[in-house]
Symmetry: C2
């Protein structure tokens, strides 16, 4: 704290922390009221949100922002509808705060319970998608956390317009406006200060690329959850249903190549390699194949894969391929190159499936299903704040539960040691 | 990784990581065999452990180590017995690895399970108690984690003797010797390198003081769990049974003043302050009282408390005391000065108890019980690897569960998105 020379940020953090204490003892009814008001006010304020967004788009265009980034920044009526619907969906999720996870009685009569409580103040650092502002604020509010949002400078006006609506809605529900606040200083130095708000931010969740994660590991003094790379593998076993395998590989690679749960690497058992690779025909769906020498034999048009290729999360229509002699070689390859996100096996054989699950240490392992299901919505969490590739606190898709913690409540009749 | 210029440490980390993969797919039977051998061999090797300990003690004595530290470093036959028994107790704990926490079926037929798995490689940094070596190694092994232990240089020979016995026992059980290893380079710089073994250490657990925690926050790039201060409070409500309150305060302050769950601060409601403080007589048990002006009125011999006193974890027979006009003032005082460890209320009134629990955000809140129960053994975990004052991953006493993580196992019949 003493190392932060940013009085405005500190003052904002103090207000946010105070608000987090009000949320800590708030009821779900009040929080759900606020979520309803937020959803309504987003729908009713399309024009002012779009006006603010135009300011950001004009500045971005003047600064020659690349088209894909411009697209992320852009809001339109439909995207605003879906922001409002997203908040409404979060409102309707089952309550989680206050739930008793487990409890027991000690021999001395003490009653021990572990109760789910909010983290407190959650910090989010994100890039230029304005919808993250309402999505993240809604999930944090549902789980009784206050939020400090640090969006990118390029989305500043859009984020501010959305945050103002949220603050008004909080006030209308009787909650502090400061329970959701936007960091107004978007210089790079202030991001570092943000990561060092020790004693204020209880959990920092970055939603950005490698350089942001690096900056956090090097600078953060607050606890954080890393949303890391997904170098996801699919292993086609010698006992696989090859038609099923083909459908899973095409889906995992092509349905949305730019996301972390898309497949980046295919491993094929040598006994089925020729037959499977001949039927796969990824070229027909525009996928470039980079394979080892045996792949090249069976898959015309593929290029020789480098070490680097096997280690790369392409996020594009490119797939690295390796032919192996055994399932042990497959899991060893995954250990070496995988990022611990999601790995799938396609097999009809129980012992292959069991071996794979027992030897692949990833956040998610799948048997006969596409890696694309490793997602908060798809696993049934209703919403997602990110996908953790670290092992502490939360691993894999993070829903509301990842925004909470368990604390002990111990009741007695005067027991002493 | 590329920032570590310590080839021996890196090489050791690589071996430990490989061993962690063997443990990941090991059976509980084999791990329990190893724990049994460790316990036996500690008992059977008292002489060699004591010989090694004498070397450390002689060096410490020559270096004029303070007596309390010397006492922590010292082993004797009884302490070695209790190390061996500790390992045996861990062996007998219920298994946790592989347990299915929950599971459900998605509308598309996918079966989603969350399964408890080890963290992988756990790093422990600790000071000069040699018993931590076997305690920590046993808990990690029980939960199928590999361990890299970095003890203090002053306990080097003792730790090495114990680690050698552990390695032999691992080998005897058919597990890799590297599953538990001691860092041999005990220079300060190597501690920093140890905290930056990114990609190797999955969780770092420091067992030490403030300066160690500070060094970790500033330097660690691996995930860690902070075992922080315990500035624990007891609030005596206006509706308290004052005899019970007195017994709890004396126990929480005096039973073992040097530990983190000892009480450091007493808050008394004004309506019972005179009566309670007159009957408390902490001077009879050697406790120095530092109170506010109202305390001074009712408690002869107390000295005026400073702001600093209220913020201090004394770890000694000193207690700060404050008289308040309301329970709201009590919880506000705790918010301001507490460290989020453990706070207790003594009251006979349900609404006071509920208000306290709902407004105090600490790892543990207690109603009518001593803060000294916030301990892994006392809450029923059978053993403890530390007490977390952070909110992520583990909060409060940490048993075996804190050494594991939940991962997703998703099974289907070829589902795609």
């Amino acid at each position: 704290m003493d190392q932060i020379s940013n009085p405005a940020l500190l003052e904002q953090a103090e207000r946010a922390k105070r608000a987090s204490r009000v949320l800590f003892s708030s009821t779900a009814a009040v929080r759900n009221d606020a979520l309803g008001y937020i959803s309504e006010s987003i729908l009713n304020s399309k024009e002012s949100i779009l006006e603010a967004n135009v300011k950001d788009l004009e500045a971005a265009s003047a600064a020659k922002m690349p088209p894909t980034q411009m697209d992320r920044l852009r809001l339109d009526s439909k995207r605003i509808d879906s922001m409002a619907l997203g908040v409404r969906d979060v409102q309707k999720l089952p309550e989680i705060v206050g739930n008793v996870q487990d409890g027991w009685v000690r021999p001395n009569g003490l009653r021990v319970k572990r109760v789910r409580v909010p983290l407190g103040l959650v910090g989010i650092i994100y890039e230029n998608r304005p919808n993250v502002t309402s999505d993240a604020a809604a999930l944090c509010l549902k789980s009784a956390n206050a939020t400090m949002l640090r969006g990118s400078s390029s989305a500043y006006h859009s984020n501010l317009a959305i945050c103002d609506l949220i603050a008004d809605s909080l006030e209308k529900a009787g909650l502090p406006r400061d329970a959701v606040s936007l960091v107004k200083d978007t210089r790079r130095e202030s991001a570092i200060d943000f990561m060092r708000l020790e004693g204020f931010i209880d959990c920092l969740i970055p939603r950005g690329g490698k350089s942001l994660i690096r900056a956090i590991k090097e600078n953060a003094t607050v606890p954080y959850i890393v949303d890391g790379d997904g170098n996801c593998h699919i292993y086609v076993d010698q006992h696989a249903d090859l038609k099923m395998a083909s459908s899973i590989v095409v889906n995992a690679k092509c349905q949305r190549p730019g996301v972390c749960n898309a497949a980046e690497s295919l491993i094929v058992h040598t006994k089925v390699a020729e037959q499977f690779l001949s039927m796969l025909r990824l070229d027909l769906v525009g996928v470039e194949v980079r394979g080892d020498e045996r792949t090249l034999e069976y898959y015309p048009g593929s290029v020789l894969a480098t070490e680097e290729d096997y280690a790369t999360e392409f996020l594009d229509l490119i797939l690295s391929v390796k032919v192996v002699d055994s399932i042990e070689e497959a899991t060893a390859h995954i250990q070496r190159y995988g990022s611990g996100h999601s790995e799938a096996i396609v097999t009809s054989d129980i012992s292959s499936a069991n071996f794979f699950v027992a030897n692949v240490d990833s956040a998610a392992v799948l048997v006969n299903a596409s890696t694309r299901f490793v997602d908060g919505g798809e696993v049934g969490f209703g919403a997602e704040i990110g996908i953790s590739t670290q092992k502490l606190h939360a691993r894999g898709p993070m829903g509301l539960e990842a925004l909470t913690t368990l604390r002990f409540v111990i009741e007695g009749e005067g027991q002493v040691r």
